[in-house]
Amino acid sequence: MNSTTPRSFQEIILRLQAYWASKGCAILQPYDMEVGAGTFHPATTLRSLGSNPWAAAYVQPSRRPTDGRYGENPNRLQHYYQYQVLIKPSPPELQALYLGSLEAIGVDMDLHDIRFVEDDWESPTLGAWGLGWEVWCDGMEVSQFTYFQQVGGHDCTPVSGELTYGLERLAMYILECDHVMDMPFNDPDATIPLKYGDIFKQTEEEYARWNFDVANTDVLLRHFVEAEAECEAILSHAFDDPKTGKRIIMVHPAYDQAIKASHIFNLLDARGVISVTERQAYIGRVRTLSKQCADAFVQTRAGGYIEAAE
């Protein structure tokens, strides 16, 4: 284990990858779609369903349009990174494993105050909930720790343990940076040292302007409806593929559309065109899609479905 303090944002990510790999997790890559949180990655949402064991860890770029601050706020960003770990069934020593990961990224357990503070997790758009904590390091929330109880309306049996690290905030803390844009992204002694701001300051400005003031809401509203329709259309197909004769339930393509609808909803929300009552209705529509995908996933092999012997 590396007990020295990391020197850059990417070193923290690399250490987390190495740590969780050493604990037996499959190190996956980010999902290639816009999502609001690492939980939306099918490696979490879908794989937490059904009886098959699972252990995966990955970085997920996440977007929350309403959190944009033109790159000016010290730690609020509309695009940021989450580190996500999902292990099913949750091992009894998950808390200890988690604390080990903090040590691995340079948190000195003798000097800091780590606390597990109640924080029940609920995702109305995923039809999911779990119990757990937000983990505090010296009063700062550094992770979410959740035992999934239900996803997409389905009880989770076995239960998955989910860890989510807000990477920028955690890294700023470890690297002692007061402003995210000043944080070294690569090694500060590299020939070409890059700070977080060198990479993201401009994009934060661009997206904040677009998210808040420019995004074409008519187009977005149309895309929402289209994604919703496509998701339902995909799932309405028979399980058996007429061409190959195989049982192929197209859960992931359908789920992509659900993710898309969810992100479009977030964009519309940032544009301020969704009223409080409509808001609930939109969330309900996305939840319906998530549930349909979950229903379909448990009918697949990965979702624990066992095909009857021929």
Binding site: P74, D108, E118, C137, D138, Q149, S275, V276
Partner: protein, 702 residues
């Protein structure tokens, strides 16, 4: 005698659930023990973030052997019946005794239940307790089906006597009981065995765990106030926060830090709310300036650097939080100083309730109502209307979006900043009040008008769409609104017709009133009557809490103008006081006697005796005295009632007690002389009329 020690060791239990859970553990285990015959001398339960602990002292070693006699069949019953009885009781014929009874010779079985060892009972009760524990929310983990608030890791369960400790064997879904526990997660993580409760608490303390939550809270408060005092400062009291923080730590260490100068300009409530909600910090105030200048955080450990790293980290987090708050505050002030039009406009996009329209529509209705209510409560109508128009503006502000609990208060700050009158600003803050039964009611006239308008609009609105509270369901807090109206009127001594203002409220919600023209279309009147009876029900609860009996309230509700809540309460209070006196209590008896006899005779004769008694037909002194007393009382009661001086009216009424009693004592009502009889019945009628002008005394019980 034995002692019992139980510890359920788990991952972190939410602070807000710990106290209740410790009590539940104590109750469930001890109740179960006692039910099984295992009595004990004393028990106590404790909690930390990671454990629930129960200690029971002076427990029996085993439940006592009990014998019971069971009645069987008759001695001469068929063999089959006797065999059946024996099988059922698990006995042989030799165990039966024959006894003579009134019903003949009957067989009795003596069944002896041997006592069970304490350990067996404890194991059984504890397992059941764990499996059925009433957590507000519980969860499964891993592959299991057991539910606990968070994963349960170990069960310590020992009995201890002078000859040492014994593990009570128990296996709950693979969690096997033992005599071990662990100390502080970071400071003393090694497991250790314990032999008794004393040994347990001592070893826990050296393993950096203070078991008793009260001891932790006391230590936190002591250290916090001492540190603040040493700096000439004071900690802002917050009992809820203290209890919560005590539930977040096993080894409390109090650290005091400074709030960056940049943020000291924020309203103190914002600082306090942000620090409490986000960071669980106590606010530390400078008593000289009233400003909040420092904070107190409670760490869960000691460190080699005396908490310097921890404090620095907390300070940094706080700065980021307050930077957000400051960002909101400054943005909001900009909008406020520009007159808040932007916020008022955006209320048009916020739904109040899907059947009751937007917040902007609500504000319009409130404004009209507040204006109309203003003169009666001594407020300037223009001002009341303006105040109502601005009262909800802060709901669109960024600060209230972030901290909904600051609604109203931020309204006051922002309206002040906009340059409006202070009374208008206060109304924004006070119009939600009273929120709880002990919350102050608004007293400033403008605030009273807006607050009443808000509540009347709410009640009439939800009544009009038939969303009344049912049973325990009151999602829109309509009971609270009704109680609010009652308290505002009563505590401000405001007499007014609730009918009139509620009718305006209903009309604003589109309810129609055809009360003068059409009997068939009485919806509006029905709504009004129904709402008034709801408010009367709340009033009964309110007055009952003040020790006024329900029949007294009923007696007053049955009187005219019962939609004037203040009048109603005054009447009920006066009546309640009167009934506490000897005269008052006895007068009721006299009144009831008079009323009962009069009603009976009226029914018999088919007439109403209300003609007016004449003293010239009086035959006895008692009769004449009653005439005189009624004249005197009437002369006092009438003007007192007109002046709503119920106390005077009722004490005048109470003076009738002696003459009425004497009258009944001496006089036979049903005289043979019909004229005298009629006159006496008419005299009873005067008693009824006079007493009934005060309250409907027929409703009084007893």
């Amino acid at each position: 005698m034995t002692d019992l020690l139980i510890e359920l060791f788990s991952e972190e239990i939410p602070a807000r659930m710990q106290l209740r859970a410790a009590n539940d553990l104590k109750k469930l285990v001890t109740d179960g023990m006692v039910e099984a015959g295992l009595t004990y001398a004393s028990a106590a339960a404790f909690s930390t973030p990671r454990r629930l602990t129960l200690t029971v002292e002076g427990m029996l070693d085993a439940s006592p052997t009990t014998t019971e006699e069971r009645k069987g069949p008759k001695a001469d019953a068929p063999e089959k019946a006797i065999d059946g009885f024996l099988r059922g009781a698990g006995l042989t014929r030799d165990d039966l005794i024959e006894r003579e009874t009134l019903k003949g010779n009957i067989l009795f079985a003596k069944i002896t239940k041997p006592g069970r060892p304490a350990a067996d009972i404890v194991a059984e009760v504890l397992e059941k307790t764990i499996r059925t524990f009433p957590w507000p929310k519980s969860m499964r983990w891993g592959n299991g089906t057991l539910k606990w608030v968070r994963p349960l890791h170990s069960i310590l369960c020992i009995t201890s006597a002078e000859d040492g400790a014994t593990i009570v064997p128990l296996d709950v879904d693979g969690i096997i009981s033992g005599d071990q526990t662990q100390g502080h997660r970071f400071l003393s993580p090694t497991a250790f065995s314990v032999t008794s409760f004393d040994d347990y608490t001592t070893k826990l303390k050296s393993a950096h765990v203070v078991l008793d939550p009260q001891e932790r809270a006391d230590a936190i408060w002591h250290d916090a106030t001492t540190q603040a005092f040493a700096n000439g400062l004071e900690v802002v009291e917050d009992a809820g926060l203290l209890a919560e923080v005590a539930g977040l730590v096993e080894w409390p260490v109090v650290l005091m830090g400074t709030i960056d100068e940049d943020f000291l300009g924020l309203p103190p409530e914002v600082l306090q709310t942000s620090m409490r909600e986000h960071q669980k910090f106590f606010s530390v105030r400078n008593p000289k300036t009233g400003r909040i200048e420092q904070f107190i955080t409670v760490a869960n450990r000691t460190t080699a650097d005396n908490g310097a790293t921890i404090l620095a980290g907390n300070q940094k987090v706080l700065s980021a939080r307050l930077a957000d708050a400051k960002f909101f505050w400054e943005n909001d002030l900009r909008v406020a100083k520009a007159g808040m039009d932007e916020w008022l406009k955006s209320l048009e996009n916020v739904t109040f309730h899907n059947k009751l329209g937007t917040q902007a529509e609500l504000v319009n209705r409130m404004a009209t109502l507040a204006r109309e209510l203003a003169p009666a409560v001594g407020a300037d109508p223009e001002m009341a209307e303006k105040a109502a128009r601005l009262a909800k503006a802060d709901l669109s502000s960024e600060m209230v979006y972030e901290f909904p609990e600051l609604q109203g208060l931020m309204g006051r700050y922002y309206i002040e900043a906009s340059g409006e009158d202070a009374a208008i600003a206060s109304a924004a803050e006070e119009h939600y009040a009273p929120l709880g039964p002990s919350d102050d009611v608004p007293t400033a006239p403008v605030s009273v008008a807006v607050s009443l308008a808000e509540k009347i609009d709410k009640l009439t609105g939800f009544w009009a769409i038939d969303e009344k509270p049912t049973g325990s369901k009151d999602p829109f807090a309509l009971r609270r609104a009704a109680l609010g109206i009652i308290r505002i009127l009563v505590e401000n001594n405001q007499s007014s017709s609730l009918f009139a203002s509620a009718r305006k409220g209903f009309e604003a919600h589109g309810v129609e009133f055809f009360d003068e023209r059409d009997d068939d279309d009485y919806t509006g009147m029905e709504f009004l009557a129904n709402l008034l009876s709801f408010i009367h029900d709340r009033l009964k609860v309110y007055l009952k809490d003040q020790g006024i009996r329900h029949d007294i309230i009923d007696a007053c509700i049955a009187m005219p103008n019962n939609d004037d809540i203040n009048l109603l309460v005054k009447r009920a209070r006066a009546l309640s006081e009167t009934l506490k006196t000897d005269d008052g209590e006895n007068l009721i008896q006299g009144f009831k006697r008079a009323n009962k006899m009069l009603s009976a005779e009226e029914e018999k004769d088919g007439v109403e005796y209300s003609y007016g008694a004449d003293i010239k037909f009086a035959e006895t002194d008692e009769e004449r005295s009653l005439f005189a007393a009624l004249d005197t009382a009437e002369a006092e009661i009438k003007p007192a009632m007109d002046a709503q001086d119920f106390a005077t009216a009722m004490s005048a009424m109470a003076t009738l007690r002696a003459p009425i009693d004497a009258f009944f004592e001496a006089v036979q009502i049903n005289s043979d002389n019909p004229t005298v009889r009629r006159n006496r019945l008419n005299l009873l009628s005067r008693i009824r009329t006079i007493c009934s002008s005060v309250a409907d005394l027929t409703k009084i019980e007893g």
